[in-house]
Symmetry: none
Subunit: 368 residues, 2 copies
């Protein structure tokens, strides 16, 4: 339908140009905008049609039916590891997005400085002030404090359906060392881990943390992806074979799932590649990646619950819960971003997009 | 009327199935949802009809008429004991809910770390940073500090109509020791006490704190109820005789009132059992229990005022103010939750439900 619309629109546009009608500036800008958003004639469109995931149906299939017999926690408990002296918005965005999509409980593990601020953004989050940065830790205390930090998170680990590691984490070496241990604990407990932001800086420099862990998801943006490709494949990003390169990269890191964010989101677990290019917004305000990581955490948890309880009825494809989580999370964010942009245009902020998560989910998958 | 609706709906559903009509996925999901919400064929429904409280009439009977001659404080002064380094949302939810229903003053007694955060959620609350956790108290100072903490709360005790103990309290041993003393003081002053969350952890391990106190209310969720049954009755939860078991439990703890939260709320003071199953929502986001404890605090205060001033005109049943408070609080939360869900669906959060408390109360019991 969009293609048809494109063609009609292009016909009118060409006709106007041929007849040397001069459309007013606002109309021209609107034309340019539509051509960019719809990607008319671009190669991404061609790629999209071949690899495009059936994202709305996947989202509907993995979102659980709301059941009054269920109790608190059964619709998902997620935790975000992030938030330091400098960054407090990112972990909030990730954690609140998880709740707005339907998780029952959302925790944040951050530094002591960050905690009161993150708490003050919303009383809905459970915020643990347990991480430490180098400036507050003497050399002699490092081992002892590191053990305490890791134990503080680990005592909760079994209760979580998914961990998001990285939003607003910062790059303090002591803090990152502790977070490495937390990732190892999550892996031991078989808890899925989504790595974003500064978590990707950590993991790119220490691939062993996630390599071969099928419940790990990396969500790099353009620069983070470039570093990952250089480090793992020892070459530059090749956009002529974007799908093949992503597949190789995911395979090379032992079958982790990678969601490469962009105009069209590409997702691979080293076995298959899928793209999500529906909706979206041209606004690139910071924080949208945090919504994505929080969203993927919830959908991955639901997909995994569904697969673990599978009674042979799972008719969707792909079957990998990390792929399903990424596809659904990407589709929902893109829809929410487009709704927010429709309303707010250039002034769209991340909080506006978060406010559209509920309506977007309801549009695709009505609660009842 | 609901039963009639169920039967019609089921007839249509069966007819569709018999005629091998294949309803689309959205219709099937709607069917599953309605069957769950309406509890068609479930035994809870049968139980509900026999024990169902006349909750709307009770709520109307105990809610005081707004009278311009009354002064600040006469519509209720409640206090929440809770809020620590980890948890700040829960005490806020309980305290603000009390105000939103109509209490005049709402206090929170919490730790020093939690106070600025809880204050930042709302300027409406009076927040006292008086509790202490072990990490900030040396062994030598424990007795002295404990006495100071208890005295700080006790000097306010006579002014309160009701105490809510537990939302976001945490489980620090020193803090819980102080709270045990606060419960004893409240009991000495004949101030009603509602025990929720970590307060239930404390009380389940030390039943003497509330045993035989007719102004105590416990509000356990599914897990807290399980622990209470195991500890007191030395057996497992028996859902075949949910009413009988709850009655025994309340009687065994010397006639305290227990509100067992669930798809259908069950309430007993060891003499009678009542259920509230009207409205409700299938969303199980954390924090709804805190709204309930704050709501019960206000309705209990009002019911008690009414009974203390009774001139033989109280025509409602039951007569016990703790039962009346629980029934009205449960009914109001369930209505607010259903209104919020109608609007927000899966993205409903606890703050959305709090925003619906006023409208729900107005629907049942118009202010004028």
């Amino acid at each position: 339908m969009i293609v048809k619309h494109d063609m009609n629109y292009l016909t009118v546009l060409n006709s106007a140009i041929n007849h040397k009608l001069a459309p007013p500036l606002a109309v021209l800008r609107r034309q340019q905008f539509l051509i960019r958003v719809l990607g008319v004639g671009g190669e991404n469109r061609m790629q999209g049609s071949k690899f495009e995931a059936d994202s709305d149906n996947i989202l509907r299939a993995i979102t659980p039916v709301l059941d009054p017999n269920r109790h608190k926690g059964q619709a998902g408990k997620v935790a975000v590891i992030g938030g330091c002296r400098e960054y407090t918005g990112a972990p909030y965005f990730a954690a609140i997005s998880a709740l707005k999509i339907g998780a029952d409980l959302s925790h944040v593990f951050c530094t002591k400085d960050a905690a009161p601020v993150i708490k003050s953004y919303s009383p809905e989050l459970i915020v643990h002030p347990v991480l430490e940065e180098s400036y507050s830790v003497g050399d002699r205390d490092k081992d002892h404090i590191s053990r305490r930090v890791v134990a503080e998170v680990d005592k909760w680990m079994e209760r979580f359906d998914c961990l998001v590691v990285g939003p607003g984490l910062g790059r303090d070496p002591f803090l990152l060392d502790c977070v490495s241990e937390i990732i190892k604990q999550a892996r031991q407990s078989n808890v899925p881990v989504i790595i974003d932001g500064d978590g990707l800086f950590l993991v790119t420099n220490n691939l062993g943390l996630v390599s071969g862990y099928p419940l790990a998801i990396l969500t790099p943006n353009v620069n983070e992806y470039k570093r990952l490709v250089q480090k793992v494949l020892n070459c530059e990003v090749n956009d002529q074979d974007a799908h093949g390169q992503l597949l190789s990269l995911a395979k090379q890191i032992g079958g982790v799932t990678i969601l490469r964010k962009g105009k069209c989101d590409l997702i691979s677990d080293g076995e298959i590649v899928k793209s999500v290019s529906s909706h979206g917004s041209p606004r690139r305000c910071g924080g949208q990646g945090d919504i994505l990581s929080g969203s993927v955490a919830v959908f991955l948890s639901w997909a995994r619950q569904l697969i673990l309880a599978d009674e042979g009825n799972l008719i969707i494809s792909p079957k990998n819960p990390t792929m399903l989580g990424c596809i659904a999370g990407s589709a929902l964010l893109r829809k929410a971003a487009s709704l927010a942009f429709e309303d707010r245009k250039r002034s769209t902020l991340t909080t506006d997009i978060i406010e559209c998560l509920g309506r977007s989910l309801e549009d695709i998958c009505p609660a009842c």
